[in-house]
């Protein structure tokens, strides 16, 4: 891609104010043009296919329906030539980061970044280079230095039941333990995976192939 070609961007965020703010911010950047605004994951997927932008700026929390991670995955499943997805989020959790990258995001930015950081991240993403906010990159390095403890056999067993959508009471019954102990195990599983919900645990487990 030549340096003077305009980078076309689609914004995906369920808040109109945020889209308006981003549009205003990007209007001040040389060589970056917003070609579409999506309020839902489905709109973003449709626009990515119809407009073939270089980059989709993707929020993760999209209200009801598909979240940003799923939208990212579907946009990336378009194969080579699919737009790059740059996740732009308020939330900074390990689980979101892991899921987004596993879904094929080229970069992960926090909304609190400066405008210049945003411009350079969009240019990097358009060129196919990874773009991470410095705090995100720091955390990723810290994780790699001190990997989380592995799940125990019992924890994998319980995670497997979670993935099948089995509730706590039924897990307790199947494993001949109390619900209190199931909850204790869940707490430790969440801690190890850096998540705080059942669905978060299942998503990380699938993406990191923790369940055989």
């Amino acid at each position: 891609m030549s340096a003077d070609r305009v980078i076309e961007v689609v914004l995906c965020d369920d808040h109109a104010m945020v889209r308006a703010g981003l549009r205003a911010l990007l209007a001040g950047a040389d060589g970056i043009e917003v070609v579409g605004e999506a309020a839902t994951g489905q709109q973003a997927i449709d626009m990515a296919a119809a407009l073939r932008p270089d980059v989709v700026l993707m929020d993760l929390q999209l209200g009801d329906g598909m979240d940003g991670v799923e939208a990212t995955r579907r946009i990336q499943s378009g194969g080579p030539g699919s737009p790059r997805v740059l996740v732009l989020t308020t939330y900074d959790t390990d689980a979101d980061l892991t899921r987004s990258i596993a879904a094929g995001a080229t970069g992960y930015l926090l909304k609190a970044e400066s405008a210049d950081e945003l411009y350079s991240a969009i240019r990097a993403a358009a060129a196919g280079r990874t773009a991470l906010s410095p705090p995100v990159a720091d955390r990723m390095m810290a994780q790699l230095r001190a990997p989380r403890p592995a799940l125990t056999e019992r924890e994998r067993e319980i995670l497997g039941q979670l993935a099948q959508g089995v509730g706590n009471r039924e897990i307790a019954r199947r494993l001949f333990i109390s619900e209190a102990t199931v909850k204790t195990h869940l707490g430790r599983i969440y801690e190890k995976l850096g998540v705080d919900t059942r669905s978060g645990a299942v998503a990380v487990a699938k993406e990191q192939r923790l369940l055989s």
Partner: protein, 173 residues
């Protein structure tokens, strides 16, 4: 001695009765002390055995087969914790035997980083934990709760009529 004194004072019924009542009070207190001593003693099943072996012995004496499982990496527990866990297992299995009419009973000891948890579950008739009787012989849920609390732990009772019962004693390490 008080009983002898009562015998001697038989001609004075008021005095004799006073001696008798005093003897009675002391007798009751001695019995309570004796019970307390017995409860604090390490269970015989722990004699020369690990807590896991003791729990297996306790389980093996039940009329219904009890499935015993140990989760996590076993490690040496303080003596008080071992005694409490074995006593709680005995109490819970006694309840299952006497009240539950269960066909499947399981005992699971789980070692975690900072606590050890004993679960006793059965598929019996269950009960409403809000109306469980207090139990007068040092068995029963109150005694299990007291043992767990003494070690800074917590006892959880999960049951409902027709739903089986799960007792969980979590003791911090």
């Amino acid at each position: 001695m008080l009983l002898q004194a009562a015998d001697r004072a038989w001609a004075d019924p008021a005095l004799a009765r006073e001696h008798l009542h005093a003897a009675q009070r002391i007798g009751v207190r001695n019995l309570a002390e004796a019970r307390g001593l017995v409860q604090d003693l390490a269970p015989a099943d722990l004699d020369g055995n690990s807590v896991e072996e003791a729990l297996r012995n306790v389980a093996a004496r039940e009329p219904v087969p009890v499935r015993v499982r140990v989760d996590g990496t076993a490690r040496e527990l303080p003596g008080r914790a071992q005694s409490a866990l074995v006593r709680i297992a005995q109490g819970a299995l006694a309840n299952v035997r006497e009240h539950a009419d269960a066909s499947e009973v399981a005992l699971t000891l789980t070692y975690l980083d900072d606590e050890v948890v004993l679960d006793i579950t059965d598929d019996g008739q269950g009960f409403d934990p809000a109306t469980a009787p207090a139990g007068g012989r040092g068995h029963g849920l109150p005694a299990m709760r007291a043992r767990t609390a003494q070690l800074g732990g917590r006892l959880t009772v999960e049951s409902a009529p027709g739903q089986g019962t799960a007792i969980s004693a979590a003791v911090p390490l």
